[in-house]
């Protein structure tokens, strides 16, 4: 590697001039290759090939609310500390653990395919809570849900239940 070919010594020439024979030039390329590998590893480690994942949400335009029958409305309320309460229509809210939410959602939706889910998260709650719940909805194949602000009335209902 890295040897440069030079012309082969030509045959004996006339005259007594001494021909300076050029030697095959050998270049040490090891440092260059070292640097190349260094750069290669650097670029391999810094390149991020994957783009981040996203979750798509469609919110309805402002105009026109839809009337929903009370029995088809399931309300999920999330308190500031992340506790989840659910109820249908105007029942008393019941507490549910996040792990059991998936079963609950699929069960309720099987019983009533027309069910619409309304999610109310406390303003002081965590953003991650909302993402987790929306993710649960996606996993449970619930496409009809809406987000609503939590009002004082909701807080009073929750306060009554949790005592």
């Amino acid at each position: 590697m890295a040897s440069v070919d030079t012309a082969a010594p030509r045959g004996h020439k006339k005259g007594k001039k001494k021909k300076i024979r050029r030697l095959g030039v050998r270049m040490d390329m090891t440092p260059m290759v070292d640097v190349a590998f260094l750069l290669l590893t650097f670029f391999i480690y810094t390149t991020s090939m994957n783009r981040p994942q996203t979750m798509e949400i469609n919110i309805p335009p402002n105009n026109g609310g839809v009337e929903v029958a009370c029995s088809n409305l399931m309300t999920i309320r999330v308190k500031e500390d992340g506790a989840i309460f659910w109820n249908i229509c105007t029942d008393d809210p019941k507490k549910v653990e996040f792990k059991e939410l998936h079963n609950l959602l699929s069960q309720q939706n099987q019983q009533n395919p027309k069910l619409i889910t309304l999610l109310k998260v406390d303003r002081k709650g965590k953003y991650a809570m909302m993402v987790n719940l929306l993710d649960e909805f996606n996993v449970a194949n619930i496409t009809r849900f809406s987000l609503a602000p939590m009002e004082d009335a909701d807080k009073r209902i929750l306060a009554k239940v949790s005592g």
Partner: protein, 144 residues
């Protein structure tokens, strides 16, 4: 041992990685993303990113320097996002949509951000007729 082919391949890879790497300017804030099972990829271009930081500050950013310069002035051209007040967000969104109607809106919130500010942001998005947007999340891996 003749190492020439090996080195050739190394250089080929080197040029490949050098040409494909895109260097990003440092991020304005560090965001820890929440996790979800959604596997939709982030759109590649025409992205408008609304970043909500852990301490509930709001940043608006675009993926093209042209849009950044147009909305926030030449001095902010190279930044990735600019802090925006909640009250002025609506104006910015309308101006951004006028400059580039193909914009896709992406909300990138820290998992510890307050829900309240997200609610306000979604309210503003709704008011400005952006009814479809994406939430950036990390892929959650578990067995289901």
């Amino acid at each position: 041992m003749d190492m020439t082919p090996f080195v050739d391949v190394a250089f080929l890879l080197l040029t490949f990685f050098m040409l494909t790497t895109q260097f990003r300017p440092p991020e304005e804030v560090q965001i820890i993303l929440p996790q979800s099972h959604s596997a939709i990829k982030l759109p590649e271009s025409n992205v408008m990113t609304l970043t909500i930081s852990k301490d509930n500050r709001l940043f608006l950013g675009f993926d093209s320097q042209f849009m950044m310069a147009k909305l926030f002035g030449e001095e902010n051209k190279l930044r990735i996002a600019v802090p925006v007040e909640l009250g002025k967000l609506g104006d910015f969104l309308i101006r951004a949509r006028m400059a580039n109607p193909k914009l896709r809106t992406v909300v990138k919130g820290d998992k510890d951000a307050e829900y309240g500010i997200t609610e306000d942001v979604m309210g503003i998005l709704q008011k400005t007729q952006i009814t479809r947007f994406n939430l950036v999340t990390d892929l959650e891996r578990d067995e289901r």
